[in-house]
Amino acid sequence: MEGELAHIGAGLAGLGTGLAALGVGNVAGNFLAGALRNPSAAAGQTATLFIGIAFAEALGIFSFLVALLLMFAV
């Protein structure tokens, strides 16, 4: 019974990865919108873009990690 609850929890934690995908898409989309408005400034901001994507993605990875922990370590 406990293992099944852990699996349900893992599934719920997995939702977090999907939400992180929304965040990453938001970052990239806003970057693209800004880059199309002012293409000359875009090249200098790619580093910022990747940092933003990394932070957004890290949280998704955390929830994925929680899912893995629930699946394999609990």
């Binding site: 580093a47 990747f50 940092i51 994507i53 990394a54 932070f55 993605e57 890290a58 990875i61 955390f62 994925f64 990690l65 893995l68 394999f72």
Partner: protein
Amino acid sequence: MADEAKSGGGLSFKPMDQFEVKSLFGGEVGMFTITNVTLWLALAVLAVIGLLVLTTSKRETVPGRGQSIAELMYGFVYKMVEDVTGKDGIKYFPYIMTLFMFILCANFLGLIPMSFTTTSHIAVTAVLGFGVFIAVTVLGFALNGAAFLGLFWPTSAPLPLRPVLAVIELISYFVRPVSHSIRLAGNMMAGHAVLKVFAGFAQVAAIAPVAIVGVMAIYGLEVLVSAIQAYVFTILTCVYLKDALHPHH
């Protein structure tokens, strides 16, 4: 590692088996045992030497393919360090280049089928992440003294808010090494586990073609992620280093 393909009836997923640390010559895994970790770390060293040392041995003024790659990587990381940390960060360039080359080579070596991904282990990435964190913190205090604490005291904010912000800054500062290391390990682990899960679906003949196409697509994504995670780890290291060099900005 790949012996899960046939294990009785039904689907069998063992996405985590590929991360198992094994002794190469038998025996228990102790501190100095030569394991598959040792093997793939050594291969990463060889890859770095092959990419940066062997290619440049001819010292051509007009570079060939290999030398172009070496120069490209050098220029890429050098420019990153210079752009993010400024001129006084250049003297830390060899350390950052070491991190970048190691993570890049380890990530790509991990993509070879049947290989072992050293950077998917939290122990490995935690050493990298906490190493950066401790080095940067020590450097920050050594260079700026107590003024380094100004990093946690945002003078641009209104006075009543500052203690609250200081607590948030402090927490975010100490979360840095955790997120720094888990981001890399998590990305590598997630990608490889997903590849294994898709490969597990190939056990069912009906959906095997879809599974194989899926494996190919995820593999392409993983190639991208390997390079991006090396880049992200390096640029975040540069950002942290910049905080240590210039706490007030």
